[in-house]
Each structure stands twice: as C-alpha cells, then as structure tokens.
C-alpha cells in the first residue's frame, strides 16, 4: 500500500539541472531502505518555480524541497520518508516569509509565489504523471469529452465556449468561440483542427510546459473542438527543439488511441477523431497560422494573404480551426465547470487566466498563472519576488519580439488584452521579460529587431527590407554615430513596416522599437546628442577610467586585462605606496574585466 508519494519535476528546466539523476538515486535509496512498496515516485511536468529547481515534493505532507542534488536524496529517504523528519535545510522557506506547520513542513501553496496564482491551464502541471493516462482521468480527464459527445450538440459546445469569453492565448486575442463558429458551417469532405505549439518568442515556455506536464488535456480539447466544428483530423505543430514535449505528447496520443479516446466512434457517439504530430524546424514565422499550415503541408513555411481565412480554406485547402496550446488547455475546464465559472475570472473583456513565463532580472524565474487584470506590480513583486541585487525595476517586455515594453511608471497597469494594447504594448503569447536599471532600452530594441531580421521569411518586401534598414539605423545610434533625423526616420519606417507587411511577424516587428521610443525617447536622445549610453551597455559609447587617486597600484586590473591595455604610471597618490595604473582608451575593448576585479572601486565606466 502506498502511503507517500515523491513528485519529481520532469520539466525541461529541472531535467537539465539533473532531475533524472535524482530520480535514479531515489529508486536505489528506496530499495535499500525497503520502502519501494510504501513510497511511489512520480515524475511530473513543470511546477513553475524553475529558479529553485530541481524541485521535489513529498506527499501527503506537501513538503516542498528546492534545489535538490543527487547527494541530498539519501538524507530525504532516511530522514523524511523513513523517520518522518523533513530535511529542514532543503525546505524552501520563501526567504523567511512562509510559516512552517508544527511538523516543519512548508507546502508549495504556502509560498508567495503560489499563493495568489490561480491555476486553470496549469492545474495538472506538477501534479500528475504526464505519461500516465489513468492519472489524467483521475483528475477528471476526458470527462469533458465524454460530456460533449453524450450530452451536447456541436452548437451547444460552441455556445459555451463563446459565452465563456475565452480569447486566443497565442497573442492575437481573437474570441475562440467566434473562430469555431466561423469554421463550423463550412462543408467539406474533411476538415482540420490544428494546435499551434510552435512557441517561438525568446523567453516564452508556457506551451512547452503544458505539453510536458499535461499533454492529454490538449488531446481532449482538440477532440472537443473537432466535434464542435465538424473536423475529424487534428495536427499538433510543435517545435523539434522541445524533445520532452514531443515524447510525452506521442506517448499520450498512443495511450488515448489505446483507450479508444482517439480513433473511431469515440464514446459510441459516431464521432471519429485522430491526431498527428508535425515537427517544426524552429522558424519563428511558422508560429503565424497560415505559415504554420503551409509548413504542415510540406512546403517552405511562408505566410499567405488572407482572405481566404483558414476557417474557409486552410490546411490542404480545407476548412481549418487553429488554436494555441494554452487556448486549448482552457477548453476541458470550461466544458466541465461552465461558461459562467470561466467568465467570473478576469476583467470585462478578457476572461479567465493567463500564463506568463517570467524571465530576465527577477528573483523567481518561472511559470505563473494569474487571473487577467492582475497588476504588473503584483506579478513582479509579489509572485516574482522582486528584482535581484536591490536594483530598480525599469521596464517589462511582454509579447517578445512582437510586443512592447511597460515602463516602471505604468507598473500599476492591470494586465489584460485591451489595457496592454492601449499603452502600445501587446499581450503576446506570455513571455514576460523583466529589466532593471542596467538595461539599455535602445540595445534591447536592437536585440529583438536582430531576432526578427533573422526570422523574417523574406516573402514580402516591407518586412524583409524594412526591418533590416531599421536595424541598421539602430546600429548607427548605439555606435554613437546617430543623428536626431535618424530617430525620426526610424519612426517613419516602423509605421511603414507595420502597415504594409503581409503577416503578423512584420506587422508587429517594429513594436519593441516604437514602444521604447514612446517611453524611453530620452535614452535614444542621450545616445545621439550626448554620445552616452545611460545604462552603460553600448560599448562604443563607454570609456573605462581609473581614478588615479583611489588606485593603490596593486596591478590586479592589469593582470586581468585580456588585451594588455593597462599600464602603470609614475604617479603615486598621496598615502599610497605604489604608482597608479591607467587604461589606454585606444586599445580598450570595454570588456569590464578590470572593473569587476578592482577591490577598491577605483575604476568607473561612463
């Protein structure tokens, strides 16, 4: 009889920091202590707090162990699992904020990271074994599919989804119910459901985590969508760079087929549905729906003009519904708990929750799910644990290379589709990159533009040539050679690219530039007029100097300089024993090695 379960995170983050070795050690240790029949190991999907991985949770106590190493395993087994004493040094105490119960346990749900989250999409991530369909079924899995196939008409299903107010989570925010109702009436010999799992935004990993942690919910939702819209075939288009997600999804599809939850005559309803996986080769443009379909068809991933819309003429020229992973992950819960339940969360025009991948300069890097309308301040300071090293928050980038930034002055913005659009930003798929005072906003805009220039498919001129020209102008500015006219020219070009590009990639590519110009124009001007980078990032505008009165002449800087550009002078400062050093600015490569090695703060950059 199993009395305790040890959940080990098997998400990509924890796997790369060694959770497989931890699992192996647990297996050995449990056998050594003759506990294998009493304690069960469960490898789950992502718990969300990737910063503290590898994560191990022991139930029924709910003890949350963070940063576990293979060498800690024996202690957890002999102390906690055998003798019932939680290993205190590994229990995460939320920087002293979480209160332990009388047994010394702190559960995951007690930490500030989890307390105010509302997990709908991620409800099974980190809770079930994603490779075991029975565990999914135990958590009400496939009950929604059973319900729609035995009790509801397709029209009723679409009505529930429409009433819930669910909007596309891939970034656009198009109402899902409307999308389904546009496809449903179209007649064809075959119609398709496509799941967009081509998560391409740098720093976004929500969709990967859902596929890794709860793959069955995507299968179930696609089948529900197929029933509602009259489609019998589904494709999941997932990046080949997500090997764990692909593996778990393949296992899940095979298990669902085995149980007859995919295939013919599901639940004896006469409805047939099956799913295939297509691997994307990692082109960002393939996240755009028409390019994605072109790629599934076996052609080079390039977008095509709309209309005709995919609902009429999509994959292989047939009517197609295409939704993002996170959108689908909401569907089974909406069916089971009702449209009103879903619509009770969020703001007036953005219902439900949103998953964000927190990254950048933030203490709790990881995955969070919050109701729409939560303020940015709450996400960053309460859930995210604030900015490391006591630095000041400067801005947050949402929507990756298609989005914009929210400056510190707007930190009380309630995050939903319309509020973000109103400030010239975009929800995007949910990457949230936090930046502190050491980030140069011009450099940041340049980074994202470099990404879109690389990823532009080249089909239309505004995107192919326009983004390249904008990048060149930005390069000029960060090199200290820009003029004020260049800033005006960038703005004009951005508007042109935005209005004339064929697909979403080009239409949104200028957003990071426009948003930084809107909120941080003074930084652009500092680069151009003062020839200075206020954040001290742009190398061409920096000079490293040694304050000769502070220098004690230890020579540590000179020994660490990779290009031997630091030499000793004749000058001995009052009260010092040795002569001061100086940097030859003509040879300096501005790596900063001297500054980080100086123990006397004698070196500064400007």
């Amino acid at each position: 009889m199993i009395r305790s379960q040890v959940l080990i995170c098997g998400g990509t983050g924890c796997t790369s920091s060694g959770s497989q070795q931890i699992q192996d050690r647990f297996e050995t240790a449990l056998e050594q202590n003759d506990l294998q029949d009493e304690v069960k190991l469960v490898r789950t999907g992502c718990f969300g707090l990737c910063e503290l991985g590898p994560v191990v949770i022991v139930y029924p106590d709910g003890t949350f162990y963070s940063r576990v190493t293979p060498d800690d395993v024996d202690e957890i087994v002999t102390e906690h699992l055998l003798k019932g004493r939680p290993v205190q040094r590994l229990v995460y105490d939320d920087h002293g904020k979480a209160q332990a119960d009388e047994f010394g346990n702190i559960a995951l749900s007690d930490t500030s990271f989890y307390k105010t989250q509302n997990r709908v999409v991620l409800r099974n991530c980190g809770v079930i074994n994603p490779e075991d369909i029975d565990e999914y079924i135990a958590m009400d899995g496939y009950a929604a599919l059973g319900k729609v196939l035995t009790e509801m008409t397709p029209e009723e299903v679409i009505q529930v989804v429409s009433d819930s107010g669910l909007r596309g989570r891939g970034g656009g925010g198009f109402p899902t119910g409307r999308k389904w109702s546009l496809c449903a009436p179209n007649k064809a010999d075959i119609k398709y459901v496509v799941c967009n799992a081509d998560e391409g935004d740098p720093g976004a990993f929500m969709d990967r985590s859902v596929l890794e942690g709860d793959p069955h919910c995507i299968i179930e939702a696609m089948a529900i969508c197929g029933y509602a819209c009259g489609c019998n075939k589904g494709y999941v288009y997932v990046r080949a760079e997500y090997p764990i997600a692909v593996k778990r999804l393949s296992i899940a599809i095979a298990q669902a087929r085995d149980y007859g939850l995919l295939g013919e005559n599901i639940f004896d309803s006469g409805f047939d549905f099956d799913i295939e996986i297509r691997l994307g080769a990692g082109a960002f443009v393939c996240g755009e729906e028409t390019a994605l379909m072109t790629s599934i068809e076996g052609n080079r991933g390039e977008p095509r003009p709309r209309p005709p819309f995919p609902a009429v003429k999509g994959l292989f020229g047939k009517p197609t519904v295409e939704n993002n992973v996170e959108t689908f992950a909401n569907i089974p819960q909406i069916i089971l708990r009702g449209a009103d339940w879903f619509a009770s969360m969020g703001t007036e025009r953005s219902k439900g929750t949103k998953v964000f991948a927190l990254g950048g300069k933030i203490n709790h890097t990881g995955l969070v799910e919050i109701p729409m309308g939560t303020t940015l301040e709450h996400i960053i300071y309460e859930i995210g644990g604030g900015i490391p090293n006591g630095k000041k928050f400067k801005a947050a980038q949402t929507g990756g290379p298609s989005g914009g930034c929210i400056p510190a002055s707007l930190i009380d913005t309630e995050v939903d589709y319309d509020n973000l659009t109103a400030i010239g930003c975009m929800m995007g798929s949910g990457g949230l990159i936090v930046m502190d005072e050491d980030t140069c906003m011009v450099d940041m805009a340049k980074f994202f533009l470099e990404f879109t220039v690389d990823e532009s498919c080249g089909k239309c001129t505004p995107c192919r040539v326009g983004t390249k020209r904008i990048l060149e102008l930005l390069d000029k500015i960060t090199a200290g050679k820009g003029t004020l006219e260049d800033i005006d020219r960038i703005e004009e070009l951005c508007q042109y690219v935005k209005q004339n590009s064929l697909c979403g990639l080009g239409q949104t590519a200028p957003n990071p530039v426009l948003a930084t110009l809107k909120f941080f124009r003074d930084e652009y001007i500092a680069h151009v007029v003062d020839r200075k980078c206020p954040a001290g990032v742009c190398k061409d505008l920096l000079t490293f100097t040694i304050d000769r009165d502070k220098c004690i002449g230890c020579g540590l800087c000179a020994r660490n300089c990779p290009v031997n550009t630091i030499e000793q002078t004749d000058y001995v400062a009052p009260g010092k024993k040795r002569a001061a050093y100086r940097i030859d600015p003509s040879k300096c490569i501005k790596c900063g090695a001297c500054m980080s090695n100086c123990k006397f703060h004698a070196i500064s950059k400007q």
């Binding site: 009395r3 379960q5 029924p60 809770v127 565990e135 135990a138 496939y142 059973g146 149980y259 639940f267």
Partner: protein
Amino acid sequence: MKSLAELQAIKDRMKDRVVLRDGMEGKRVVVGMATCGIAAGARPVLNAFVEGVNKAGLEGTVSVTQTGCIGICQYEPVVEVFEPGKEKVTYVKMTPEKAQEVIEKHLKGGNVVSEYTIGSVAV
C-alpha cells in the same frame, strides 16, 4: 472507450493514487517514526493505518503521515490524531490490531478509544 461508465471506473480505481496530492485537509494521523518508534514496531502500525484508512474509504478526509521522535520513547509506537478545532489525541503502545480499532471507532465513528490513550496507559 465506449461509455462514461468505463471512464468513471478508471477514475475510481485511480482515486487513492491522486488523493494524496490534495494536501492535508481534515483529520491527520501522525505516527512517530524516529529510531525508538521504528524499533518498537511503528512501521507495521503506519502501514496498518494507511491500508485501513483506504479500506474504510476515508482517504479523502484522513491523511496519514509520520513524524520524528515525539519524546516519550517508553510508550512507542506513538500515534497522534489531529483534528481541526479539537485537542490532539495521543495513542501509545500501538499495534496494527489497535490501529484497526482506532480507525473504526475514532476516525470513522468519532469516538476516542480512550483505553489506548496516554492518559489511561501511563497512569
């Protein structure tokens, strides 16, 4: 899968596997499992509680865990029952058979088996 009943059957079969992960609500049975407890035979008692609670269908409302030394080694195996809003009950010198009785009378029936509590045994 041809019917909702089939789905429900799988769900029922799996229930005790995932219920452990719901966290600790309701009653909580804690078995002292330090060296002294284990030496006195706490492990069969712990397993008897886990199995008995499941057999009695109480797995949703009663959780069974262990703890370290409770401090009264001469009375091991010691089992404490915590119930929200009530004073804790400490059973001493437990055996798997006594455990069965506690499950039936106390956890299910709501009546403390006072002859096994520390109050009666220690006096």
